[in-house]
Amino acid sequence: MSTAAPSPPEKLTKKMLTADHPTWCPGCGDFAVLAAFYKVLEKLQIPHEKIVTIAGIGCSSRFPYFVNSHGLHYIHGRALPLATGISLSRPDVHVFAFGGDGDGFSIGGNHLDHCARKNVNLTYVIMDNSVYGLTKMQTSPTSPIGYKSKTDPTGAIDQPVNPMRKLVASGASFVARTHASQVKHMMEMFERAIKHPGFSVVEVLSECVIFYPGAFDNSIPRKGGEFEVIDERKWDETSEDESRHDVTDFSAAMRLSEEASPGKFGTYYEVDRPSKNVLEQKWIDDSKAKLGGASDKEVLQARFNQMK
C-alpha cells in the first residue's frame, strides 16, 4: 500500500458524539431527542468536524454541551440568527439549532419567522414542553388556556401559539411534528429534515415531568392517547391517494394545523424553494464573473479610482 494514500475517514459513532452527561431531570423527554439525534448522525455519517450544534437559552438549549461536536451556546431567543451567520458564511458545514418553545416561539419568535421566510439552509429542532422549565414553571407561549403556573396561578388566559400554523404560514420549506416518546418516528423526521435543502424545522413534543407532567398524554397510546401519523400522498394513481395529504399543498398543511389536540404527527409541509444560501451564492458568483478574476486589491483600487 502506498504511504501517500489518505487514511479512510474514521466512522462516526454514537460514542464519539457523546459529551457531558445531560443536566436534564430524570424522565425528561429531551433525553430521547438527544439519543435520536446521535443515531441519525451515525446513520448519515456526516464528517465529525462539520457538525455544528447551536442553541439559545432554556433546558433544551443546553443541548450543545451534550453533543461532542463544534458547538455554541448563545443568548436567549437568538440561536437562529447566529446559526444563519454560520450557514451563510460556511456552506461546507451542517448547522443544527436546538431550543424550546419559549426560546423559539416567544423571545425568538420574530427570528423564527424571518429565518423561515429567508429559507436559510439549516435544521431547527424545537423541544416543546409548553412550560418554562429552567426558570421553574412560568406560562409559555404554547401553554394551553387554563394551565396553572407561577405566572398564571388561576390558569393561563392568553391564546397559545399554534406551532404548525405559525411555521407553515411563515414560509418554512420543511415543517414536521413528532413526539419524544416515538423514537422511530422522531428519527425519520430528523433524517428528512436534515436532508432537506433549505430551512427545515421539527417540533418535538417533549414532556417536562417536573412542571408539566402529563402534558401530552392524549398523544401517548400507552397512556390512553392517540398517536396519529399523517397519511402522506404516495402519487400511486389510486383513488384512495386522492384523500391523502399532499405535503406540497400549503392550504392542506394549514388545514392540518387546525386540527384539535392532539393533532396529527409527521410532515405537514415540504417544498423545494431556493434557499437563501443558493441565491446569495449566485449573486457572489455573478459578481465575481463580471470582474474577470480581479484580485481583492484590484477591486478596492478600482473603487479608489472612482473617487478621484
Binding site: E49, H111, D296, F304, K308
Partner: protein
Amino acid sequence: MTTASAPSPSDASTRSSSDKLKDAVIRLAGNSQDGIQTVGGFLARLAGRTAQEVMTYMTIPSTISGGPSIFQVHIGSGEVLSPGDDADFLVAFYQHSYKDHISSLRDGGVCIYDTDEVEPDLTDRRFTFIGIPITTTTIEALGGSARDRGKNMFVLGLLTSIFDLSREKLTAIIDRQFGKKNESVLRNAMLAFDAGYSYPISESLGRDYGIAPGTMEGDHRIATDGNQMMTCGLLAAGVRYGAGYPITPWSPIMESLRSELPKYGGLFVQGEDELAAVSIALGMAYSGHLAVTGSSGPGLSLKMEALSYAVMAELPLIVINVQRGGPSTGLPTSVEQSDLLQAIYGSHGDAPRVVLAPQDVEDCFYIALEAGRIARKYSVPVIILSDQAISSRIEAFAEPNLDEFMVEAELDIAPRDESFKPYPLDGLTRHAPPGTPLTGGIYPVVTGLEHDEWGHPTANPELHQKMTARRRNKLIALAEEIAEPEIYGDAEGDSLLVGWGSTYGPIREAVDRMRSNGEKVGAMQIRHLNPLPNGLDKSFARFSRVAVIEINGSGLYGCGQLATLLRARYCDPRIQSVTKTDGLAFKIREIVAGVENLKNNA
C-alpha cells in the same frame, strides 16, 4: 490629511495680500431635492484632483422627501481642517434659505440669491447682494422643458467662474457622473453648467475671488465621505462578512457593503432587527471570519446583550456606531458624541471591550484597519465610534497605499491537537471554527456561561475570578502597545485641548487661532478610547489646564463623557470640560470661547 504646522486660519482678515484667495467657505442653501449635495460632491472631488484641500458639511432633513437642506464647502489651497465657522459666500435658492442662513455669512460676505424666489433685505450693508434669475436662466438654457431642475448645475457653473476653478477637470467629473445615466441627462447638465459659467457676474463682484492653486502633495488624491472610507477600510482589513439593520446615518455603510462584498466572495446580510444583525455577524465570527455589524445609537443599545456575549465567549467582531443626537430617536440627522459611555459600559456584567474613534474622513480607513488588527489579535469585540459629521462630510486626502495596507481574508481550519483549549488561562483565545478537525477527538463549546479553559460551564468562584481577570487583562495588554497620541502645537503651556472623533479639525484650528494670539496651547486627539493609551498624565502635567472638547452633555457633575473617564483614570482636577448639545459641529470660536471661559472661572 497631512499635518501642517503653520497656522492657516480661515478668517478673512488674516489672508495674504496676494490677489488669489487661500481659501473660501461657500454655503449652498436650498431644499434637499435640489441636488445641492451633488454640487458639493463635485467641488470636493475637484479639490482632490487639483491638490487643494476641502472639507464639507451638510444637513439633511430627517423627513422622507423635501425640506430645507444645506451644503457647505470649505475649499483651500493649503490645509483645511474644518467646514469653516462663517461662510464667505451664501447661495440662497429660496426665501427660507435666505432667511435661515444669512446669519451664517461673515461681514463683507457675498449673498447670491435667485431673484425668481428670494427678496432679500438690500438695505443690510454688511453683505454684498448679487441677484441672479437662477430659475428662469436655467429653464431658458435647457429649452424650457426641465421645470426647475438643473439649478444646481447652473450654480456650479457660476461658482466655477467666480473662483476660477478648473472647468476642464470639472467637466470630466460631471461627464463621469452623468454619462453613466444617459446622454440627455449629461447634455442638460452641461447646458445648465455652461449657462452658469458664462453668466456675466464678474462686474457685480468687484474683485477677483480666484483661489490659489493647491499646495497639497501627491498625485494620488481621492475625495469621499466618512461612511465610504469606513467601508473601504473594512474591505482592506479583510472583512468579508457582516450583517446590519437600516438606521440613519449608518445605512450607507451597510448599503455599500451589501453591494461590494459579493465582489470579494463575501456577503452582507440585512437582518430582521438589530438583535438578529449582531447575532448573524457573531455567527460569521464564530465561523472563523472577521465580521462586522453596525448601527447608530438606538441600534447599538439593542445589540448590547449580544456584545456582552461576545466579550464572554471571546469572539472577534467589528461594531460600527455612527453616532447621532440622542437620547432615544433624538436628532437622527445631527451630530453628537454622546454614545461613548454606552460603547464602553453599555452591556451588563463586567464586559471589557475595545472602543476606537476616527478623527476625520481619511482616518475612517485606518481606524477600520486598526479595529481588524485588534479584533483578530485579542479575539474581542471592537466598537468604532464614528459620527454623523464624519459620516456625511466629504474630504480630499492622499489615497491609501493598498500594497502596504491590504490584509488578506483568511480562514484557519487547520487541525488542532489534544492540547487545544479555547480559553487558556495563560494565553489568548484562538477559536477552532466549525470544520476544524480536533485530532484529540474532543470538540469545543463556545459559551456565554462562565466556563473553564475548555468551555465547560462552571460557577467555580476561583475560576470566575480568574476568567474575569483574563478578559480584562487582554485590554490592559493592548494599552501597552498603543502609542501615546502626538501633541499638536505647544508641548507645554497654558491649555491642552483634548478631543476625540470629528472634533479633530476644529480643535486644531482653535489651537492655531489661540497660538496666533500668543497663547501656549496644544491639542491631543484620542483615537483609542478603551483602553486609553498609557502615559497621558505625563502630557497633562505639562499644562496648567486640560480642556476636554466634546459634543455631548456636561453631565450631573459638570463633565462630558471623555472628561468623566479621564478624571476617573487620573483624579486630576485640571481636567475640565467644554461641551455642547446643539446638534451641530463645534465652530472654532466656540472652542476658543469655551477654553477662555475655563480660564476665567479658574
